[in-house]
């Protein structure tokens, strides 16, 4: 049986749902269980495209659960905690934070999460002033 592209995407989406634990977060334990089961039961010649879609979806899901805060200088841990709380509330899932020092921002912070970027940096303000004139 040959699966169509759409069918493979649907299957990959189901695998993604099975990769979540009881807290609805992606866990490596569940992912390895899914991979073992798929390798056993899915035809070998269509395993590669299915796993590619699965990988893409897992990457996308991880991007939605991880936020990167870029800043110039220092940031208090209490601030990152409160940002994580606010983002978790806004995106309705537990968000983990990774920090990155970017001196080009001059001051302020820039948050990347999924497809969204929130920018309060001075570099962005200056860029806006520059493009406005």
């Amino acid at each position: 049986m040959t699966y169509s592209k759409a069918k493979l995407k649907t299957l990959a989406n189901k695998l993604l749902q099975l990769s979540r634990d009881e807290k609805e977060t992606l866990s490596s334990k569940e992912v390895s269980k899914v991979l073992t089961a798929v390798k056993k039961q899915f035809p070998l010649y269509q395993l590669r495209p299915l796993l590619k879609y699965y990988l893409k979806m897992v990457k996308q899901a991880l991007r939605q659960e991880q936020a990167t805060i870029e800043y110039a200088g220092t940031i208090a841990s209490s601030d990152t905690d409160s940002i994580a709380k606010l983002l978790s509330k806004h995106y309705n899932c537990a968000i983990t934070i990774t920090e990155k020092i970017t001196p080009e921002l001059i001051a302020g912070i820039k948050i990347h999460i999924a497809d969204d970027v929130y920018d309060t940096s001075i570099a962005e303000k200056l860029h806006l002033i520059q493009t406005k004139n």
């Binding site: 969204d116 970027v117 929130y118 920018d119 309060t120």
Partner: protein, 188 residues
């Protein structure tokens, strides 16, 4: 000196301290003027997107996991992994009297070297035309400069006309003659 500091102070006062939110994506592949982008989950159909190097594009093909965009500019410098931003604006161009006598590209950007186009408003390109009744009635002729047309089948300014004819019979000539005649009338 005081004007300089006043100018800076004015800019500081005008600074908006709220954050800017952008919806971004990354190019997965580009070919034949079309870029496929992963991300841009909040993009609208027909929305302008901004590529690196201030090149604009239009989001036309919205799929579940990628967006197909037509690039309205030079694609030679675009590459896989480049960041693309949504603008939140539908494809629109400047309108108004500031455009009279100017040469602009498809996005309304000036290409005649006469500086920026002054405009007060922009209209979306894909706009529903107004109904017949609210439109101003045609009360002025459009002189083509060709006596046979202007006397027998006069054209009204604002009307649509169709030039039908076999090849090599002068359809383009009529159109160009009309443009030249208009230029002469408007210059006077």
């Amino acid at each position: 000196m005081s004007t300089l500091t006043e100018q800076i102070q004015k800019e500081i006062d005008a600074l908006n301290l709220t954050s800017t939110k952008k919806n971004v994506g990354t190019i997965t592949h580009v070919a034949d003027g079309v870029a496929h982008i992963e991300g841009l989950s909040g993009v609208m159909y027909n929305e302008m997107v901004l590529f690196p190097g201030d090149v604009y594009g239009i989001a036309l093909n919205l799929e579940e996991d990628e967006v197909g965009c037509v690039v309205l500019g030079d694609i030679s410098h675009l590459k896989e992994g480049d960041e693309v931003q949504s603008t939140g604006k539908l494809l629109s161009v400047p309108v108004g009297k500031g455009l009279l006598g100017r040469v602009v590209d498809a996005l309304g950007q000036p290409i005649d070297g006469k500086g920026d186009v002054t405009f007060k408003e922009q209209y979306p390109v894909e706009r529903i035309a107004p109904d017949i009744l609210p439109r101003q009635s045609v009360d002025q002729p459009l002189q083509t400069g060709i006596m046979a047309i202007d006397s027998i089948i006069p054209v009204g300014r604002g009307q649509r006309e169709l030039i039908v004819g076999d090849r090599q019979t002068g359809k383009t000539t009529i159109a160009i003659d009309t443009i030249i005649n208009q230029a002469q009338i408007n210059r006077a």
